[in-house]
Amino acid sequence: MERKLMKGNEALAEAAIRAGCKCFFGYPITPQTEISAYMSKRMPKVGGVFLQAESEVSAINMVYGCASSGIRCMTSSSSPGVSLKSEGVSYIAGADLPCVIINVMRGGPGLGGIQPSQADYWQATKALGHGDFQLLVYAPSSVQEMADTVTKAFDLADKYRMPALILADGLLGQMMEPVAFEDVDISFGDGSDKEWAARGHNNERKHNISNSLYLKPDELEDRIVERFKRYDVIKANHTEAECYKTDDAELIITAYGSVARIAKAAVDAARAKGIKVGLFRPITLWPFPEKELKAACANAENVLCVEMSMGQMIEDVKLALECKKNVEFFGRTGGIVPKPSEILAKIVEMTQKGAE
């Protein structure tokens, strides 16, 4: 397959178009602005819509409207902008509508900084908006995966009628790597086969209404319980993770996204020193690949969670392992990217402690 050199942001945007995204609503913010810039160039050429909204809040509400019609649509932003979108995301989840949201994370809280970060893990997996709901969350760790996960995100969002989020970071958005695009079969067409879509009833069927307001508690509870049954199906069928040299590993590193790439370099360096260490990389953050992690840690006593934050995913790691393993943490934050040597030093420290 023909390979092109692309930025993560560009590859993601191109893959979205190929996955049938017809409408993109954006607002610029570093380090994800290339997504909007790319969409503005490409969407008019493929008969799609690029619209720069007046704010992140409007962009997500345009997504809400567009998703109601069954058309595949997307918005993207970076951390502070994603916070602004949270109300809209909750409404979309409450109305059971599919869409894709991109967060190319930068440092926070507040305006934070413009360098890469992973400090929005909690926001993405636990609470991007109020209420009982989850988002599908993918964490790509290469430019190729930026493209591949966006296709999966659109497919699963449609299948389960829920918003999906790609949680990337400034490094992945900005770096360039070769990428190849697979031909995607977009069998859903223009969305007209979605029986729930509000796109004109022609007096031939009852109204379809997109709504998240249920004033009768029993009715609201029924909706939420039904939604969580769908979540159970997703948890059982759609967890994804990569295992790297975990088979004989006595120490397992858990890391996602760009940091997993750095951790991999540290694993290779540790292996060269004869330390049995492996990497477990969640690709879906929600649902968290619990059974996969348990299996990967079967022979390991120690787990090291590495993140570009003060430690957020570590909680899901501990929950998945039911606190049966010793889980330690190494992280850099505020836009500082950990170096392979720093992770290696922590590996060596944990190994020596174990030997004593």
Binding site: R3, K4, L5, K7
Partner: protein, 220 residues
């Protein structure tokens, strides 16, 4: 070629501009020239010339960068006197931001550059998505020339797929680069290939711009 005091590097972002700029600056310095390199990228806060300040210091190359490069302040502020730098240094290498968006920053210096004399290199990469045909490459070149009020004087072929670039990839791109240069009416100055894949007929360059996990900071 490249006999003028200013060497300007332009191109599509991701074409390999910064890497070519750093290589040329080092080459000029090795040849005994007093070199200044200007990071004129006011568009992209990641992967830029200013990342190599230590390398430049070691080689005696003076680095000029936007005032807030590599900080968290997203302000594209430039504060230097180009004419003074051109008087002071044998060679000023200017690494311009990507596309016409990045080249806008160059326009304000066009008069000074015309007065002192410049070579303007247009870097092409056949593997980049929006410049993968000679026609697309020329379309972008014209946009860059328009906003910078300067004319390109040579094409450099930096076609690459990052770390996984093979000799075949580089050789296969030469026709594309020649076609682009011909269409632009410019000479193809050279085709660059990273040093570890020796490709006959190309100029060996070192790869400075690379992701964090490829920076081997681990001592054996």
């Amino acid at each position: 070629m490249l006999n003028n005091p200013a060497t300007i590097i332009t191109g599509h972002y991701g074409s390999g501009k910064t890497n070519i700029a750093v290589n040329l600056a080092l080459e000029f310095a090795d040849a005994g020239e007093k070199v200044c390199i200007i990071d004129l990228d006011i568009v992209n806060p990641y992967f830029r010339t200013a990342d190599f300040d230590k390398l430049f210091k070691d080689k005696g190359i003076y680095l000029v960068a936007p005032q807030y490069a590599n900080t968290n302040l997203d302000i594209p502020s430039l504060g230097f006197d180009l004419a003074a730098l051109l008087r002071q240094y044998d060679r000023v290498v200017i690494d311009v931001g990507g596309d016409d968006a990045g080249a806008i920053a160059l326009g304000q210096y066009s008069t000074v550059l015309k007065n002192f004399g410049y070579d303007m290199i247009y870097v092409v990469n056949s593997f980049r998505y929006l410049t993968s045909t000679p026609e697309e490459a020329i379309e972008l070149l014209r946009d860059i020339e328009l906003v910078s009020s300067l004319k390109a004087t040579a094409v450099v072929n930096s076609s690459n797929l990052g770390v996984s670039t093979t000799a075949e990839d580089v050789l296969g791109s030469v026709e594309y680069a020649k076609a682009a240069a011909d269409a632009a009416g410019l000479p193809l100055l050279f085709t660059a290939a990273k040093r570890d894949i020796s490709v006959p007929g190309t100029k060996a360059v070192d790869v400075f711009v690379r992701p964090f996990w490829e920076e081997n900071d681990i001592e054996e």
